[in-house]
């Protein structure tokens, strides 16, 4: 059978890749997708732990994470549309009103 560690290490790799995408990408939509990737990595760890300990609690947490991610996507994309309309750009470095 597949050891639980394999799933957890895959989860760590995906989380790291999501973090790299978050730091590197300049497009605000892609940065938002990087956050979704990190949430997915955490979900994988939740399900792996849930199966390892033989309890369903982790899977319920995954459902909650998915709900919160969907709500976050709806509000976040609304903010992105607003920013793009005001700034005429999707580049995060153009949004620097608070910068000295």
């Amino acid at each position: 059978m597949i050891p639980t560690n394999y799933y957890l290490i895959l989860s760590a790799i995906l989380f790291g890749l999501g973090m790299i995408a978050f730091v590197f990408k300049r497009n605000i939509i892609t940065i938002f997708m990087a956050i979704e990737l990190m949430l997915n990595a955490v979900n994988l760890a939740f399900v792996a732990f849930s199966k390892a300990f033989g309890k369903s609690d982790g899977e319920v947490f995954v459902l909650f994470v998915i709900v919160v991610a969907a709500a976050e996507a709806a509000v976040g994309l609304g903010i992105i549309i607003l920013t793009a309309r005001n700034r005429r750009s999707l580049n995060v470095e153009r949004v620097d009103l608070l910068k000295l």
Partner: protein, 165 residues
Amino acid sequence: MNASLAIFFVLAAVAVAAAVSLILQRHPIHSALSLIVVMVALAGLYLLMGAEFVAAVQIIVYGGAVMVLFVFVIMLLNAGEEEHTNFSKLAAYAGIPMAVAVAGLIAAAITRSTLPPAPDPTALTSTKSLSMLLFQDFVYPFELTSFLILVAILGAIVLAQREDN
């Protein structure tokens, strides 16, 4: 090497390759399609672990609803290729070591820990037991999420509407 281990490695390789592709693609729509591949691969892994309800929700809600929202916004804003700026160099010097360090630390902690041996797909937690848990032990958080979604709908409408002055 048995069959389920082979399936795991194929799905894991697909997920990691698509995640790398998300980083390397310059056009946001290509990144979005890569992310959909990651989500489908993860749904396959959930099936492999015997979490069939979570796999179905992953496909329907993530691969379907959330990603359609992303693709819709990308097309609505007519997002083009991202532009290069000077600050990308700083991200290269600080970002990659940070991400590698975090992933390495997590992986090191995992390999040192003593976990119960393996997820056992034969001990399949049915959707029924999942729903029992959701509607008995977690019923208050479940009701709160409906409130959260209501607030999110209102917020999205308020944010996205045009102000007519």
